[in-house]
Subunit: 462 residues, 2 copies
Amino acid sequence: MSGLNDIIVARSTPPGKSALAVIRLSGPACIEKVSPFFPGLDLENKPARFAHFGKIFGKNGELIDEVVVLCFLGPRSFTGEDVVEISCHGSDFVVQRILEEFLSAGIRMAGPGEFTMRAFMNGKMDLARAEAVIDLIDSENRAQHLLAMDQMRGGFSKKIADLREQLIHFASLIELELDFGEEDVEFAERDDLKNTVSEINGFILRLMDSFRMGNALRKGVSTVIAGRPNAGKSTLLNALVEEDRALVSDIEGTTRDTIEEVITIEGVAFRLIDTAGIRDAGDVIEEMGIKKTMEKIASSAILLFIFDLSRTSPDQLKADLEKIELSEEMVRLVVGNKSDLVDQLEVKEYQKVAGGVNHFVSISAINNNGVEEVKKLLSRHFGISDKNKSDIILHNSRHFSALYNTSASLEKVLEGLSGNMPADLVAMDIRHAIHSLNEILGEGISSEDLLGSIFSRFCIGK
Amino acid sequence: MSGLNDIIVARSTPPGKSALAVIRLSGPACIEKVSPFFPGLDLENKPARFAHFGKIFGKNGELIDEVVVLCFLGPRSFTGEDVVEISCHGSDFVVQRILEEFLSAGIRMAGPGEFTMRAFMNGKMDLARAEAVIDLIDSENRAQHLLAMDQMRGGFSKKIADLREQLIHFASLIELELDFGEEDVEFAERDDLKNTVSEINGFILRLMDSFRMGNALRKGVSTVIAGRPNAGKSTLLNALVEEDRALVSDIEGTTRDTIEEVITIEGVAFRLIDTAGIRDAGDVIEEMGIKKTMEKIASSAILLFIFDLSRTSPDQLKADLEKIELSEEMVRLVVGNKSDLVDQLEVKEYQKVAGGVNHFVSISAINNNGVEEVKKLLSRHFGISDKNKSDIILHNSRHFSALYNTSASLEKVLEGLSGNMPADLVAMDIRHAIHSLNEILGEGISSEDLLGSIFSRFCIGK
């Protein structure tokens, strides 16, 4: 991608036969450049943002299409430059012909995301908001849509800018101290400073905590269904997806390979992963299956452990659960199946073993009893319906990594303040923290590589 | 499809991730209906045809997207009704959410072509021009594009309307005569009338003649390559498509099944059909192959007959050509192959047998010599480059059928005039002719079935 001095063009709508296709151009003087393709329309002298009916001709005088043209004058446009939008008939041949004419007039095809990159470079939006545009286009369910929309509206960017302001103010105090260093003046009360940095760092850590949730919402919450053979894993999976994808049988150890299904509960995607039963392995293949199951569990957000109520006492359950190693971030939900085979259920005992009321549910998967309760349990831990409108949920790994660096720098600052480190060293760490926050907003980023890798995720035409 | 009193909505761009998607609404008061989805924008009181930036909210207060909205006030709109166009981000989820909101507000999903049908019913365009819209969207090469564009511009409609005017004037003369029938007055000079009707009919017959060309251009010109075994059919096909799709070998009778390739010469698609060699059949399969070849030839627009110059005298060629029955409309082009194996070529003799300079070319397919000449030969008979801008080429079979009926009625009129039939019978035939012309323009068509079958070819959203 080259600079901002040329005119770019691209189709902004998907290929295929349709009523309309939209072709967009952006760049300095692009209205003047495009005007001759519409003889008689006098596009340059027509009001901007106004829909003009026009006929577009090729340079050999051939009528290509009857279209609607809209001009936007920079900076009041998406890219901040002059923009022309042409709505033509939705034929790939017509679109191709129009693009050919523009290309042979020296206009360049836009690269992926180049319109949005220009919007960013022209100060129309910060980098985090530009990234939200592609997240919005990629959104396939309510949770992804909500995350993208929140970020596009700029709440997250504003919060990051606020934090940066506080750190800049803080840095100025430290640097003032530095200027007068030889006079041994301390302008900034070190304890006050420590409190401020602690608070900022605490906020950043909480934001980083939300990444587990945000990442899961964005990619779909990976949910491993595990349990002893014949506990009803596949039956539960089927009941959840209301389809007969997993092979259900009465023979122990039927499900050898992991199967993935996606269900949406209250707008959140859960990727359900069925596993081979966990038990003392009978043969090599069995052993491999169990190893695979354990690996699947380790890389998931939720373990949905299912057991046979009719054959498992609370103590046995406890022993089984202890066999499965869980990472700190993982949520474990326990499902007691086959409640239909049990006369008296020791619900409280099982709840205690499972980790509380919000971690246990008893069902009868075969009768479709309690399956809705399982969905509610999943939704309670990874839901968006009770999300507070002002809650910021971090879901972009680039932002997570930048906040991680910010926090690391801030912890050095705290160390420095506690250890009475020289002000110039403390100031350096603060500048690092500020730099990391700037990366999120895209300020001071000069590297084409970084921008290139961010915008290459975009489709052409955006 | 119901009447014109409700508001319809549809996505006007293809599904898929992209920069933009366009949603279009049309119907009485649709701006007022849509306005509440953009709180604060006051869409009803904003200028029409002007691009407004707006936020679209669901009825539960959820922000769905940031969009650009354009309103068109009827009758100055595509459909002739009030129209709203919303450009949102190109996510299927976002489009779905917006459509859901509109549908739950009582707006109806548009049927295929319903926007264009409304344009027709509101008198924004006649039926032939409406049909050109879908032909334009379907166009995949320059020839199809040209035919659709010509028809959309209205030259064809105008010509049909002119013819109709002449017939209406003519009918009025005849009917005047009818009114005064008892007084035995002849207002219209019968010989003059006959000349007029003959001229009109002659024009219609020429238009019908162009249908062969128009239909071929529209669907691709079916071109059968035939000849004796080993004459070089597959080699020529390969040379034409510059690919190695057909199996080329030195063994006689290699190509048993017909193969179809499409090439585009000067914007016109030619569907090339390779065939089994024509010879005295050796076995049953061979015989079937030859029968199939003959069938293929019978249903094609061009027979490209190839023969081996080194093994075929002009007389032998004549005998071979006579074996192949051709329909009257078919163009036969003769290609003498393996010119590299011949010292002295009796070009004129072969030309004479083939039917003239424009029907014969000698090549050496294996050396790629003369292949361009074959293309020129094809293009000369089915080309668009020398098409006169005012030439009307009929390409719609509905129009062909209507003109056929018009001509049949006009021939009855001529008969009646010659046979001194009573004026009232002549007048009836003229009215039939006028009715058939009206069908092309869609005037006086009340049948929902006919309109339904025409517009069902359209995509939804157009």
